[in-house]
Amino acid sequence: MAAPRSCVLWSYCVRRWSRLMRTGGPQWLHSSLPGGSLGVRLLSREKQATETHFGFETVSEEEKGGKVYQVFESVAKKYDVMNDMMSLGIHRIWKDMLLWKMNPLPGTQLLDVAGGTGDIAFRFLNYVQAQHQRKQKRQLRAQQNLSWEEIAKKYQNEEDLLGGSRVMICDINREMLKVGKKKALDQGHKAGLAWVLGDAEELPFDDHKFDVYTIAFGIRNVTHIDQALQEAHRVLKPGGRFLCLEFSKVNNPLISRLYDLYSFQVIPVLGEVIAGDWKSYQYLVESIRKFPSQEEFKEMIEDAGFQKVTYESLTSGIVAIHSGFKL
């Protein structure tokens, strides 16, 4: 069912061309044609109209990418500490629940987008390793011997503890990736990891490559969420799963009031005291308010072509896990 290569190439070219045209196009196209100036005017009007939100500010779309990059560049070193402080450690449970929902088997190829500091990837590796060991124990107990290859590899210390699973961590921000790599070294994760610098709206991967695509607390920072979802659909294999863990709308009004209070009064203060950065954490809490609700986001995922889209709200809606399948 894979699309023919020429079709892929064509769609890639079309995408590149439309992007080029959107940013004004090359100079020769404008100056030589008499209708060129009209074309430029049309294009520039379209460009002025594309504004988006950066927290509660309004910025142009080009600016947003740069500003988000700066935010994460400045918070990268204290990212994990701040996560613990802000969520009082609950973010670990949320990420664990994402893994339990994913329930990956050994041999899964995971793409973790916006996974800079590697929280999801490391949990995935631990989970899959535990699964693999459990599977091997089950086999031995059922008096099924391991294959000769596996035994030979064990003696040579070459066995793949992950059972063929691999995780690719993709992030747009170099600083976050640096912090993640250091964490990987500290925690002793060596095998099965790959680090890639890439944009969620334009992933540097071929079609139909991954079994699972996750994006945890990253998709609200993307300028064009629909493009990120389309890219997710593209790189997943048929039968692949899309999982998104993100802050969402709280359903209980009382808890929502308390949550708003905490978000706007306490979190920027924590950011200033611990990380020395008020503005980034102000952006964080504002961007959470700007993100669509569970139902709206579910519709956006369905629009990108995913089927059987469901969501589960955690902690009365403070975060939600959305899941969809590419069938």
């Binding site: 927290g55 509660f56 500010e57 709308k249 709280v250 359903n251 209980n252 009004p253 009382l254 929502s256 009031r257 708003d260 209070l261 706007f264 009064q265 306490v266 920027p268 203060v269 924590l270 200033e272 005291v273 611990i274 020395g276 008020w278 503005k279 102000q282 809490v285 504002e286 308010r289 609700s293 569970q294 139902e295 009365s316 809606g317």
Partner: protein
């Protein structure tokens, strides 16, 4: 279900207190009965306000919804009553939307370029947090600055008024000079004769390897002139080091803090002076208490307010003459011996 309740002061107080007492069962009820389904602002308003208890007077200006579910109304009104007094503390944190404070950060209500508007609760949290962090990690100079900004509002007013009364101080307030590498003429300072204030200041910067550019801009002061006053205080800090002859090690900093505490009475200086010595060795502490602090306090009392000096015009003045003018004596011991 129209219940008209009068809201004159006594009745308001009674209702306020009783609402606090009633909040307990209400919270328990709210936890057990989660509000399922998509939440919209409309449903928010319905849940939290009610036609019956719309107060007369200045307590709140929420728009009135047209209906409220019957059994929810009574509980909701109690919640409203409870949370409305809090809204003042939270700086106008609007119950139904909660947007007013957040919207203020962008553009509209900024008093000066780096201003970040904060509610009283945020200021209190910032003051506590920055004090703790400054003690925990003495290298976080920005925390000391934040502590000064959040706690110094009333003291800064006193300082500003006192600056206005003094002719040189009033000139500073009007002209607003800033001390940074961009505004200082380093060549001119280097060319000044030995023993002049400018020359000594430059030597101080070079020996201690500090630069006048490391001061963070003021952010949390909610008045533009007071923001300048505290910025001037920070920039003048290095001048004080030169005047007092103190290096930038921890002992020197504490001595200067004592001097500043006596001079300006800023809460941050007082706290720094009292809690700074916590991290000192016993020997240094002994020297500090027996000789340096009394000297600093004496000089602080004797000298006129140091913020009133227009330092940019006094570069050529010999340091000894300046010290005599201010009544500052030479330090009691050679500070290099102690570090």
């Amino acid at each position: 279900m129209e219940t008209v309740i009068s809201v004159e002061t006594g009745g308001r107080l009674v209702a306020w207190v009783s609402s606090y007492l009633a909040i307990g069962p209400f919270l328990a009820w709210a936890m057990v009965f989660p509000f399922k389904g998509p939440r919209t602002p409309e449903i928010d308003r319905v849940f939290l306000t009610s036609l019956a208890l719309r107060p007369r007077g200045t307590m709140g200006r929420q728009p009135c919804p047209t209906h409220a579910p019957g059994d929810v109304a009574a509980m909701a009104t109690l919640l409203l009553r409870v949370l409305r007094p809090l809204s003042r503390l939270l700086g106008g944190h609007c119950p139904a939307e909660g947007v007013s404070l957040r919207a203020g950060i962008h553009g509209a209500s900024l008093l000066y370029p780096d201003h970040i508007p904060t509610s009283p609760l945020q200021k209190a949290l910032l003051a506590a947090g920055s004090a703790g962090m400054a003690l925990y990690d003495p290298y976080r100079h920005d925390m000391v600055a934040v502590l000064g900004e959040t706690t110094g509002y009333y003291t800064l007013k006193v300082l500003r008024d006192q600056m206005r009364r003094d002719p040189e101080g009033a000139q500073i307030l009007q002209e607003r000079p800033r001390i940074s590498l961009a505004t200082l003429d380093m060549d001119k300072l280097r060319s000044l004769p030995e023993g002049s204030f400018g020359c000594e200041y430059l030597r101080f910067l070079e020996v201690n390897r500090v630069s006048p550019d490391t001061r963070a801009p003021t952010r949390f002061v909610d008045d533009e002139e007071l923001a300048y006053v505290i910025q001037r205080y920070r920039e003048v800090h290095d001048m004080l080091h030169t005047l007092l002859g103190m290096p930038t090690n921890i002992l020197g900093e504490i001595v200067v803090k004592w001097f500043e505490a006596v001079q300006t009475a800023l809460p941050m200086c007082v706290l720094g002076a009292l809690f700074g010595p916590v991290r000192l060795r016993a020997q240094s502490l002994q020297v500090l208490v027996s000789e340096l602090i009394p000297w600093a306090v004496q000089n602080g009392r004797r000298a006129p307010c140091v913020l009133n000096l227009y330092y940019e015009r006094r570069w050529e003045q010999p340091l000894a003459a300046l010290r005599e003018e201010l009544g500052i004596t030479v330090p009691p011991l050679d500070m290099r011996v102690l570090s």
